[in-house]
Homo-oligomer: 340 residues x 2
Amino acid sequence: MATKIGIREVAKAAGVSVTTVSHALNDATSSRVNPQTQQHVRAVAKDLGYAPNRLASGLRNQRSQILGLVSDEITTTPFAGAMIRGAQDAAYERGYVLMVVNSGRDLELEHREIRTLQQHQVDGIVYARMYHQGVSLPEELGTLPTVLLDAVTVDRSISSVVPDEVTAAETAVEALVKAGHTRIGMLGNGDDIPATHGRLQGFRNALARHGLRFHSELVTAGVADTQGGREAALELLRRPERPTGLFCFSDRVAMGAYQAAAALGLRIPEDVSIVGTDNLELIAAALWPGLTTVALPHYEMGRWAVTRLLDDIEGPETAAVQEKFSCPLIERGSVGPPPD
Amino acid sequence: MATKIGIREVAKAAGVSVTTVSHALNDATSSRVNPQTQQHVRAVAKDLGYAPNRLASGLRNQRSQILGLVSDEITTTPFAGAMIRGAQDAAYERGYVLMVVNSGRDLELEHREIRTLQQHQVDGIVYARMYHQGVSLPEELGTLPTVLLDAVTVDRSISSVVPDEVTAAETAVEALVKAGHTRIGMLGNGDDIPATHGRLQGFRNALARHGLRFHSELVTAGVADTQGGREAALELLRRPERPTGLFCFSDRVAMGAYQAAAALGLRIPEDVSIVGTDNLELIAAALWPGLTTVALPHYEMGRWAVTRLLDDIEGPETAAVQEKFSCPLIERGSVGPPPD
DNA sequence: TGTCCTTTGCAAAACGTTTTGCTTGTTGTG
DNA sequence: CACAACAAGCAAAACGTTTTGCAAAGGACA
């Protein structure tokens, strides 16, 4: 209530100058102020509930303590939530706060949003994508510290973090192999992005490593959503020599595979085993039986991106890092031994 | 590159004083500056790519052009995404930007986060919940303009926006009634929140309006997730006098009902019709057949909250408003006439 | 006793804007 | 022609901090 209390009010109440208050509050072990005075000032400040105006200190310090997070999509997937929360947590722990903007793939809008962030003097930017893909960085970022989240550029001079798609797929497929499956199908996305290439590569790696042949007719590309997954799985599971295990590009696709299995009277996991990708709680835990899937560590990636960004901002210059996060297998109930 | 260009650089380049630049850029139809000069200054400013430092102007104007959005959960549900996007869009259109924080129900953390927002001098706060519920506002908000999003307080002096739970449920149930169903069950949440009470009320209203009796044994409370929905639906659908239509508290619960129907060999919608609540794309559009459901207008509510907040901030004082948004029925394929 | 540090504190400048007077011409009017 | 009114622009103050340079007060030492 009353008047907003600023550093001046504290100074007056403590009977010292504004300068001394500032020193008492900021310099951890200050040589400019008597420990007793310091303690006293701090007590008074706390008492009054003083908190510095960050607009003012930002202006003075050329440090806003704000990070920008620009992403393409925030709406459709809950991945966004996990990544952003990871980023927020990491930022908060170090005294920063996030300004999130999302462009919905509108490049023109994205430009304007980035300019807005720059007007607010953000100290750095996390440039995020909802799916692991290649991007080209907007020009206007200029020399502003930037880290890529779930995306990569050809320019290796900027740090990035992505899931390790190859080993993620290997992990998923090996879960099937270890359960005894030898005819394994894949329902894959067709887009020309690292996620697609990496997972197909991992699929092949896992088969090769265990001496299994790669049957290209068991791989379906261009499967993007549940409906696509259902149709593709129907086609695969109707074959006389049907696969007994299915590796799905995403949990949404896996949900389609569940539907196909049900339509054909195949039980999971007794008749067909299914592994997904994403560990989307909303789906993976809701399916029945629960979906065994590899988790994309969105929360952790969000944390890493911000931590790295803050290290860049606050610390000395270091070489850029291209980080890959491994994807653990989350076992629920959709994998079992193949039927006889 | 070079040096950061500020208003001073523009002034120098345009051959006028800093004052004149400010007037030329800000006063739409300025009496302080010659239209020619104004045009010239603007051209120069654009040419140099000048954009004002909002830390500085915020400090001077006592207006940060930042809004805080504090929410409990951002992770688990995609609702958050829609609400936040609506809020962001509305804010952006009026030159504001959002600072989002989420407390994960940790009250202590929430307090600290709000204080942080206040340090950044946010011009107002949207206090959001992910489910329609009653809340008590944190003390420290004080006189800061605030709007509630998907939440209400006993204190009617503060504006809020929530879904109209009662008519939402009525809409859902009437879809079943109009298809010819007379024995309708409800899988409801048990929590003591407006969402629960409102929807149960709507359920009863719809029945009464069409001369149908309310059978309390067809109503199951405390059903929160897919597994709960499955179990509750199994129980209901196994009855000799089973309901032919089910109204579900959420789409997640409805997904459980789908599973129960499948387990019992009941087809949707031939043997049993199902209506959900939420219109959660990820689930409603993915289920097979598609789930008919009432949409909670999260995006629109997010927009409304920010628009209202900005009107409060920028405009003259007006009386608080308690807004209820209606929830349209989204028809997919899960409702049909009852069997024989 | 005078000189020189050291300690403790303060005044003032700076960060980049916006806005309030004030000054200087210029035009219109009696 | 003189004077008022007005148009156009500028200098300076202010927003709330942080930090640099300086001053005063003591204490140690010669």
